[in-house]
Amino acid sequence: MKTHKYTVAVFTENFIGLLTRITLIFTRRHVNIESITVSESEVRGVHRYTLVVKTTEDVVQRIVQQIEKQVEALKAFYYREEEIIHQEIALYKVSTKFLDGQHNLEKLIRDNHARMLSLDSEYLVIEKTGHKHETQALLEELQPFGVLEFVRSGRVSVAKRMKELSEYLDEMETELQARVEAGKNQ
């Protein structure tokens, strides 16, 4: 079976240790996590994890099922690249020697749709958001001049489908309440 890049989105309660439980599900199956980002979601109290992995569809499917099985996990999804809008942010710390007049900083920033965040006597910090290949391209462009530090965030993404998390949560709540009322949630 062919491997693809998948973005896994997980919505959870805020519970200590859950991050480890979720990552264990990947590592146990020898699936490397390429990036992971945890933040709040649009629903108060619900956290969202965005994980990027390269694997086969049947593996990611099983991983998502195992994640949903975790007591504090509310809902998990997996997406192919074309099903999401995603973004990453990168910071580049470059020596001020860069400003020796031989390099056209303005052109570099313009061409890359980047911006300068900070300028100090010894260094400047450039910020760029974009897909990985874009932030990577700027890194390669800067490298000949000496990049003092480089960091790229994990992926953040939103799904293209219009169904909102709150709708899923409402459906789950309705089903759960029906089970509770029927005395069948034991």
Binding site: R62, A178, R179, K184
Partner: protein, 559 residues
């Protein structure tokens, strides 16, 4: 109230009357509080924490209640891990409470500090660390709810020593629901209808019984279903005893060392109905050649099991009893005599080629199956069978007869040697009125034999049968078949088990002659308290039938 007493009060609120444990520094406040409640809680002092958790498992499996154990931090807690892993893979409801160093010492490598929440994460259904006394009741309530609801499993609560010493206003509210946890989803009626259609049109239907039948209490519904539809069934190792062994539709055990007919027929049936089981590799053999010709109906409470190993044509997510209740009226009355006849013909082959000589040997040495047969006959299917792991386990699972459900306690998924002795103690305490027979190999017995002391101290009338071949028999069998008879470290020079039993003040005997077996077993069963019987069996017998690793189930070998 102190946190330590809140732990005990929470146990009482959950109806707990038996716990298995071992004291130590970080759990001492709880033990101190427990001392005031000895009239309400029977605490069993095991001799090793692994014994506590296996005993709690045995207790849970026979009684249907949650097994509880108590241990201290560090080594006390890590000694529970094997049992947690065992309970996890065999879906056994267990609550483990561990003490932890005071919260200000967390992360300092304090004496007997281990990150047991971290260590137990992959082998627990849920776990939590509690650092404040006021959080104890809610954590306990959640722990019990999660352990027993849906697909049951083990949970662990780690309580720091300062939380045990701390004060709280105690109130207890049972946990009955969690927003993020739907343990028992409503089965989809359209899926049930589709399943019924497949079943009604099937010419060669075959039903697989997993432990889910027992866990959901669906024994009666299953019986009605198979009798109405005339569908032959077979059980997994964990499904044993869900129906009476001698039920005419029972075709035996599935899997690697299961029976001949059900393994072959798995690859010939047209509709395969799997209820409350997870298609373990020991059941399926080569998954790519498993029941490819059949439409598969998978009735299972755990969504994550569906399509995990075997793709289902009709998955039905839900509690087995609920699903079977709904399915029952939709299924037509039928019989499949000709199809069943095919099973019986294969059974006759197995009897002729394997069972006859095993059960009624003409050779001199004693066989494991003949001993199992004798014990089974004498207990008339009324006993609870506890087995360890290895050849004796397979022999016992094939030949022991059951009349009642919840009568088989074994380590299925994890294959934990050393399980049976402590589990038999828990099994007996779970249902004190029933006879409990533990069948154990000489290897596995020595892995937790310290629990003889616990058995002695509790006077639990466990009947221990050691089938001694002075070998790690199953490994030796594989070495013989697949490693050119290179018996690498499988032969054992064993202690004198009779003297050992007697050293623990447990009446013990040894038998090695066929003529003495009957009397020896009778004496064991007639004795009042615990009893140890060592049976010297043939050194190099093999367990057959066998589905070799990587083979299809239909390639099962008789020799």
């Amino acid at each position: 109230m102190k946190g330590a007493e809140a732990v005990i009060q929470s146990l009482l609120a959950e109806g707990v009357d038996t716990i298995f444990g071992y004291p130590g520094g970080a759990i001492m406040p709880v033990y101190d509080s427990l001392f005031d409640f000895t009239d309400q809680i029977h605490h069993v002092l095991v001799r090793h924490e692994q014994g506590a958790v296996h005993a709690a498992q045995g207790y849970a499996r026979t009684s249907g209640r949650v097994g509880v154990c108590l241990a201290t931090s560090g080594p006390g807690a890590t000694n529970l891990i094997t049992g947690l892993a065992d309970a996890m893979i065999d879906s056994t409801p267990v609550v483990c409470i561990t003490g932890q160093v005071a919260s200000h010492l967390l992360g300092t490598d304090a004496f007997q500090e281990t990150d047991v929440v971290g260590v137990s994460m992959p082998v627990s259904k849920w776990n939590i660390q509690v650092t404040r006394a006021k959080d104890i009741p809610a954590a306990m309530a959640k722990a019990f709810y999660i352990a027993k609801s849906g697909r049951p499993g083990p949970v662990l609560i780690d309580i720091t020593k300062d939380a045990q010493f701390g004060d709280l206003e105690y109130t207890y509210t049972h946990c009955t629901q969690l927003r993020s946890y739907n343990p028992c989803p409503a089965p989809a009626q359209h899926a049930i209808k589709k399943a019924a259609e497949l079943i009604n049109n099937a010419k060669k239907p075959f039903l697989l019984v997993g432990q889910g039948i027992i866990l959901s209490g669906a024994e009666n519904e299953l019986k009605e279903l198979v009798e109405k539809s005339g569908i032959p069934f077979a059980w997994t190792l964990m499904g044993l005893s869900a129906m009476p062994t001698d039920h005419p539709l029972n075709m035996g055990m599935l899997g690697m060392h299961g029976n001949y007919a059900p393994n072959i027929k798995t690859n010939e049936c047209d509709v395969l109905i799997a209820v409350g089981m997870r298609f373990d590799d020991r059941v399926t053999g080569d998954v790519n050649r498993y029941a490819r010709q059949a439409k598969i109906i998978h009735i299972e409470i755990d969504q994550a099991e569906v399509n995990k190993n075997i793709a289902a044509d009709v998955p039905v997510i839900g509690d087995a009893r609920e699903v079977l209740e709904d399915l029952l009226p939709l299924v037509n009355e039928n019989n499949h005599e000709e199809w069943i006849g095919e099973f019986l013909a294969l059974r006759a082959i197995e009897e002729e080629k394997v069972s006859q000589e095993e059960l009624f040997p003409e050779k001199e040495g004693l066989t494991m199956p003949e001993i199992i047969r004798r014990v089974s006959e004498k207990t008339k299917g009324e006993a609870i069978l506890v087995t360890d792991v290895g050849q004796h386990q397979m022999a016992a699972s094939r030949y022991f007869g059951f009349n009642k459900t919840r009568s088989n306690v074994t380590s299925g998924g994890l294959g934990t040697m050393g399980f049976a002795l402590p589990a038999s103690l828990g099994a007996k305490l779970g249902v004190p009125d029933r006879e409990v027979v533990a069948v154990i190999g000489d290897g596995g017995f020595q892995m937790n034999m310290q629990e003889l002391a616990t058995i002695r101290q509790t006077h639990a009338a466990v009947k221990i049968v050691i089938l001694n071949n002075n070998f790690l028999g199953m490994v030796r069998q594989w070495q013989q078949l697949f490693f050119d008879r290179r018996y690498s470290f499988t032969e054992m020079e064993n202690p004198d088990f009779v003297k050992l039993g007697e050293a623990f003040h447990i009446p013990s005997a040894r038998v090695s002659e066929r003529g003495d077996v009957d009397a020896a077993i009778s004496k064991m069963l007639e004795s009042e308290g615990p009893y140890l019987l060592e049976v010297m069996v043939e050194k190099e017998d093999n367990v057959f039938p066998m589905v070799p690793t990587g083979a299809a189930v239909s390639e099962i070998r008789l020799s």
